[in-house]
Subunit: 583 residues, 2 copies
Amino acid sequence: MYRNRTCGELTIADVNKQVTLAGWVARVRKMGGMTFVDLRDRYGITQLSFNQEVNHDLFEQVNKLGREWVVQVIGTVAERSSKNMNIPTGEIEIIVSELTVLNASKTPPFTIETETDGGDDIRMKYRYLDLRRDAVRKNLELRHKMAFETRRYLDERGFLEVETPVLIASTPEGARDFIVPSRMNPGEFYALPQSPQLFKQLLMVSGFDRYFQIVKCFRDEDLRADRQPEFTQIDCEMSFVDQEDVLNMFEGLTKHLFKAIKGVEIPDFERMSYTDAMKLYGSDKPDTRFEMKFVELKDLTEDRDFVVFDSAEYVGAICATGCASYTRKQVDELTDFVKRPQIGAKGLIYVRYSEDSSLKSSVDKFFSEDDLRKWAERCNAKPGDLLLILPGETEKAQKQLCELRLEMGARLGLRDKNIYKCLWVTDFPLLEKDEELNRFFAKHHPFTSPKAEDIDMLDTNPAAVRASAYDMIINGVEIGGGSIRIHNSELQKKMFSVLGFSDERAEEQFGFLMDAFQYGAPPHGGIAFGLDRFVSIFAGLDSIRDCIAFPKNNSGRDVMIDAPAKVEKEQLDELGISSKPTN
Amino acid sequence: MYRNRTCGELTIADVNKQVTLAGWVARVRKMGGMTFVDLRDRYGITQLSFNQEVNHDLFEQVNKLGREWVVQVIGTVAERSSKNMNIPTGEIEIIVSELTVLNASKTPPFTIETETDGGDDIRMKYRYLDLRRDAVRKNLELRHKMAFETRRYLDERGFLEVETPVLIASTPEGARDFIVPSRMNPGEFYALPQSPQLFKQLLMVSGFDRYFQIVKCFRDEDLRADRQPEFTQIDCEMSFVDQEDVLNMFEGLTKHLFKAIKGVEIPDFERMSYTDAMKLYGSDKPDTRFEMKFVELKDLTEDRDFVVFDSAEYVGAICATGCASYTRKQVDELTDFVKRPQIGAKGLIYVRYSEDSSLKSSVDKFFSEDDLRKWAERCNAKPGDLLLILPGETEKAQKQLCELRLEMGARLGLRDKNIYKCLWVTDFPLLEKDEELNRFFAKHHPFTSPKAEDIDMLDTNPAAVRASAYDMIINGVEIGGGSIRIHNSELQKKMFSVLGFSDERAEEQFGFLMDAFQYGAPPHGGIAFGLDRFVSIFAGLDSIRDCIAFPKNNSGRDVMIDAPAKVEKEQLDELGISSKPTN
């Protein structure tokens, strides 16, 4: 062992001890006849002290060290004269008696500090140096802890982690698969799993009863800012349970993680139906750290000849507490915000409820102060508040209002990263209609069970059937989702028929699962969490990228190792494929 | 919840309690006016009892149940009249008052019993039913426990589990990669990792200091009986360590697993150099559950005009204790055994050391009893023993003798699956020469460090250079292996030059690692364990297949889901590849 202590553990209690440390030179400070080195390892930083008078040779040696050199030192712990109370080792330093250079370093292309001078691109190219930074390393430490505590919690409750295969078969339904040519089976391909869904259901058929797996999944999608082609799920399934059992188990897991890792006690989760979530927040993943719920005003706006409202299916308002004092400029900013193409509103209507109780709006031509007062009352507004109103086609206007609400929440500082609001959204619609194709799609997946009381409507009004499906939302981010599955072959057949699958196609795509279900499938259901996103919430990050050791960029490239890359022609020949680049 | 107790937990202490159970009908036994059902779940089997006189309707209902139906029952725990002391629940039964069929089942294609009537092929096709069998399920429970205890042990020692990417770049060196066409980067391919080797070394450069990962790896090899295209490694790496530190840490892990899971205390591991292992056992993974070490006799066989020995580079013997009484037929069997093409010996020479102290051999024409007695003495043979002797070219003869030794160990019952002998084999040669290509290859991989005291020989006698490389062997099975890595750029360059890499080619293949090593790489080393094999040793299995939930067959096929499979032409078009099957 090249050390007997780490750079994060020595304190005033260790004074006079002889220690051996090893680590990286974070900083060299030369102050006349003294040189101080900050030695860094994963555990912290310890100051090394070199005195020209005491040891001239050593002093010469230390002054040649560069940033990020790897050194080993032997020395004695001493109390510092000028203490740094911001770090645990800040009261001591090491009076070094022996210094060994274990490896030199070129000057790194950016500073290895919490606040670095390196841009995104250079940091990704030299990710191995970026990972030396405290800020990034802490995220991966957090990720390790979350994964470990998840396993501990589930293990204690009788869950078995079972590894399901990575080389499986492609299913045309759903997102695009990555495929892998098989050399031993020419002309055939494996696919990488988008989730272990089918396998975990088969494990339930096998009687495995409580399964989980922390597992890599793959999706060949055009990447948005916060998507990765490979991502990690905490994948779980249970037998002989109903929805309530699943929610309780995984609410418990989440509370455990908050408690064990952040020391935060989370109260019982709020629950909200999909319908309410859409009505009150315009989103199936509402940020419930703040209220500002939607209020419908349509009925109060009629008979005033204001065509914008009259022609609108929906008129919705939010009440921004204390914002009556917003300047013209601020209101214009909000208007510009909702008119951005990504949001797409035509304009924004506001009502100022001034401190003197007068009400003024951008639609004063059409509505009297009395009209406005009725709106304000319905919104529970108080003098000093500002109503923001969007009209339009219900779904679209709600989505726009949702964006505006989030923006106002941010402006008002109501989206504090240190506050955690957890929520179950339940009772999702089972089906989604593609109007163009005039067919239904499963909103979750084709194995999701309808709610027992809605099954009859599969024939009469499929769009109204609710699913036993649920999402876990934390601070407006979807952390996980799942459902109770169909375990009855007849109901599954019915479901396929509603989805417009021929028996043949159902058999072709899901044959082995359908077969399995005929050999005694138990009632079962489960959930899957996005670990990357879960960690990012705990880390207070907006992006998942910095919770991943070696992420890919928006083109799916790993710029550090330069993957993907061309391969030798012989390799393709052996696989029986040829590549025909489009450019 | 469909149950409040499991089928494995009720005992005499629960008599008179009302319980709800759910599970699979393992067996229905009709005995006149009584019917008994064995209800099975993951936790055990509980007997259900139905009395025609007490509840006629229920009795009718139960008699319609078939094997593997899924049922829920409510009933009262009662003491059995005829007890089965072989199972934990064998003293009780449930007097059922309510029975609900949760799902019917077709008759399964084989019996779901420890000893099933199903052949390999049918069991693989219906793997989800095979997994219901106690014997198979227990292996996966064991696997879960081993993985969990591994994580616990490493977590307690400050190791961080870091996920490395699955979509990486192909490296031509080593075994064949599986590759994955990239849609977003036409003409380019990802590769699936054969191990996270490069990434774990980069993590060391990043200062992660104690890394592990239980991770899927991939190798597109022609499959032998006990190989899978995807397999799982316990992959570990440490910084600021020498070989001794790594051996101690992972000897500790292994002892912990044996203790925590099997309750077995393993003494400190034996250590053996590669040279000794080859000399004494003819194998770098000797089964040390029994002695029967090789004894070299060449010098004792000279000047007797026996051309077989005289022309042989090597004459080696093993002493089979108590086998002097072997019949002619038994000796012929052994001769046939070593003459099998897989082993390839020309014949077998034996010396019988009879109980009356006389010595007889198959080469009596050439050697006197005195000669034979000298051989026997050197072998430490006693009256009653049998010497088995193989001559030939050293390496080949040792390999043949190794097979013969293992066969004799098996015949003599010396390879007990309940005895565990753990061993470190160390000091492997750094290089292996390919005589045909007249170049050296890295025996381990090009990053393995030579032993410090052998570095000078890299120039003068590369074949003699020993590596800081080590394998962990349990009962003759290689469970893991690793090495101290080169962290010095100059030494790494030297190594590449010995391996005949041009600077250019080294740069092309390992450029980013070489770059990384210039930014302060710490001394580091590690190890990787084959989890599948580790579990199979604990489970007492000869094959890894039954330690894997959904294994592939020898053609790399998953016969249950029928993967790999053809994909739609559109899918290939989108990826810019075309498939040209060879048939």
